[in-house]
Amino acid sequence: MNDQSEVRSTSSDCANLDRRSFLKTGLGGAIFLGTVSATAGLSGCSSTPAGRVSAVGTRMDASYEFRFLTADDIQLFEALLPAIVGPGLPEQPQARRIAIAGTIERIDAGIHNFGPANQKELRRLFDLLNFGLTRVTIARVWSSWPKVTTEEADAFLERWRTSGIGLFNNGYIALTKISNVAFYGYEDFWHLSGYPGPPQWAVDALPQFQNA
């Protein structure tokens, strides 16, 4: 709460929101999460899906249309994924970027199927992590996500995993679960779990796999 001076806001995190309105609210409560999201929404912070992100920077495949994740959310996951699934990512830089981008697309596709209620919960969580002041005060992540190192991301995840506050544990589970499932569950990374995939003899014998 005394770390306002440490806020290093970026242009994208809507740092102009009325800070007092946040500080008046108890930290760590569900009401607080709601306030962040509502305030962010009212102030015109980006809550619109990123749509087709142009084929620049880290993202190779611009044909994917994001339906839930915003540009800020994508940066958040670009920072978190190296800490969550990094040891399984390819080392070659371009392959690594592609693997991260693909995982973020599958996270978005998965969340689309979560439906409105859980999307609302995740919107609150992502807004809290993306908004500079709450990122610093609640998540205690000092840099904006594009500048966060893997070590810092890991330290943040560890804080939320080991926290005595259930809400943070819940946030940890939400972030790691959707990331782990989208990564380890995808065919290209099955080998990391020693999973050979469906038995080939069955695939060869079943009609739904023929003339694909």
Partner: protein, 530 residues
């Protein structure tokens, strides 16, 4: 081998099946009976009513998926076949809720375990809720009938290693174990029951009662969400429903009005109380949505010295009821022990962790066994269950507080699971708990189990069995429906799903739902024909 697809053939033969996403204008339809839900309860009801000559409309919020769609792939199956894309949780987020959302409901994605309602449960219902007509002897013919209808038999094939570890551990410790009856015909023993049976072996509602109803002129509308039952004086006049777009998630704006003489709610123990609450169904004693039960599940994983390949083979074939009723039916909470299948997406989502810890754990998946405990909730004053409520948008939520009585059971279950895994030769064991390490000796595991906080979120909890919320009973002051699933106050409303259970079952509930629905639908058919 079952390579002829029953659904594809039926669609070709002219079954009345409507995909809600194809509707372009509002419609009104009429039938003798509207059945809401196509799972264990709705499918059974629709088949029996249609065969008796009544006209039936079946309403399903999820979409029609069948063999052509079942490709043994976790990510696509979780997205399309499960409630909320497999992200459903209890209100505080602490318990993951696995529940089907497709034609066939949870029977399309369950692991095929087929148990009769335990005698102790039925006797408790008779004594506590005045449900004497459901005594074991009276129910036996209904269980017999449904076991035949769904081809339920104890699994005659050797259990996979994952299940055999539960057997070995129980043997070593002198705990009883049994072979699980499964509802399969010509099963290939592949291990993909949870993502839609790829071989048409599973005899769930999708391949039995739903086709049976459609063969008898029932009309299935899928991709159609039941919004509200609209009353006219003391009877339901019609069901108001919303068509969903082809993504299965977004309402298209098209509405369908369904008129009928009688309405059967079979939309699950979360969906049915939600529908009744949205509909302002008379509820003078405020019972709708109360006493929701879930068989709270906790889990341990073990690394075994030999390969387990827990992703292959019939997912559930061995169980132990050693601790299920050992404390008496209404003593300290009992638990059933089973084994879950472990595929990469499910495992990486269930085992909490990230970074090196997670990849090192995932790398041992081929050697991994898991045991789960299913707590028999609802039989004790300190296990009053949860509550179904409505969000602002009208969608239902389940609020399930975990009481100290249940935490005690969860801790005991952790002890038992670790004992069994070490007795079966585990090299190390880990609890599904945020603070759990891998433990290489039973003593270390037990010390940790005694010391780790039993708290929401830290203990990973799950439910695949949603029950209650529209409980049956003789006394209208403490129940929603009578022992035949007939609503106490609305003459043309019945409930035929797991929401009528006044407690949990103490076993995987699909056969309990099939049998009660068959019994109650047979009575309903006679009633409506005269």
């Amino acid at each position: 081998m079952q390579l002829k697809d029953r659904i594809a053939q039926g669609l070709e033969s002219g079954w009345k099946v409507t995909d809600g996403a194809t509707l372009t204008e509002n419609r009104t339809l009429e039938a003798d009976v509207v059945v809401i839900g196509t799972g264990a309860g709705g499918g059974t009801t629709a088949e029996i009513l249609a065969k008796s000559g009544l006209s039936v409309i079946l309403v399903e919020e999820g979409r029609l998926y069948y063999q052509k769609d079942f490709k043994m792939d976790e990510l696509s199956a979780y997205a399309s076949l499960y409630q909320e894309g497999m992200s459903r949780v209890t209100k505080d987020g602490a318990i993951a809720v696995l529940q089907g959302r497709c034609v066939g409901g949870s029977t399309t994605v369950n692991w095929t375990s087929s148990f009769r309602t335990p005698d102790a449960t039925l006797n408790y219902w008779a004594e506590r809720f005045g449900l004497d007509a459901l005594a074991p002897d009276a129910m036996a013919p209904w269980f017999d009938g449904r076991e035949q209808r769904h081809n339920m038999e104890p699994w005659a094939v050797k259990p996979n290693v994952n299940n055999d570890i539960l057997r070995q551990g129980c043997d070593q410790l002198g705990y009883s174990w049994q072979v699980i009856p499964r509802n399969v015909k010509g099963c290939w023993n592949l291990g993909y029951c949870g993502v839609g049976c790829p071989t048409n072996a599973k005899q769930g509602a999708l391949l039995t009662t739903v086709p049976g109803a459609l063969d008898n002129d029932a009309h299935l509308i899928h991709g159609l969400r039941a919004d509200k039952l609209v009353m006219n004086q003391d009877r339901i006049d019609h069901l108001q429903a919303s068509a969903m777009a082809a993504d299965g998630i977004t309402p298209s704006g098209i509405t369908v009005t369904l008129k009928a003489r009688h309405f059967v709610a079979a939309a699950s123990a979360i969906g049915t109380p939600g529908l009744l609450l949205r509909s302002d169904i008379p509820d003078p004693h405020n019972r709708i949505g109360k006493r929701s039960f879930i068989h709270p599940v906790n889990a341990c994983v073990a690394e075994m010295p030999e390969k387990v390949e827990p992703f292959y083979g019939a997912p559930q074939s061995i169980y132990s009821d050693h601790f299920n009723f050992s404390g008496g039916v209404d003593g300290p909470v009992g638990y059933k022990l089973e084994v879950p299948p472990l595929h990469p997406a499910m495992s990486s989502g269930v085992i909490p962790g990230h970074g090196d810890t997670q990849i090192n754990t995932m790398a041992r998946l081929p050697w991994m066994n898991s045991v789960i405990a299913l707590l028999r909730d609802g039989f004790h004053p300190d296990s009053p269950g949860g509550t179904i409520g409505l969000r602002d948008d009208g969608s239902p939520y389940l609020d399930y507080p975990v009481t100290d009585y249940l935490w005690d059971g969860l801790r005991r279950a952790f002890h038992t699971m670790a004992e069994i895994q070490f007795a079966a030769g585990a090299k190390r064991v880990r609890l599904m708990h945020l603070d759990s390490d891998w433990y290489t000796t039973l003593a270390d595991a037990k010390a940790a189990i005694d010391q780790l906080p039993m708290e929401l979120h830290r203990v990973r909890l799950f439910t695949a069995h949603q029950m209650g919320g529209c409980g049956m009973g003789a006394n209208p002051e403490e129940s929603v429906v009578n022992g035949f699933g007939e609503h106490h106050h609305v003459g043309n409303l019945s409930v035929h799903d797991a929401s009528i259970f006044p407690t949990s079952i103490g076993a995987n509930p699909q056969l309990s739902v099939y049998a009660l629905s068959a019994r109650n639908s047979t009575r309903l058919a006679n009633r409506l024909k005269t």
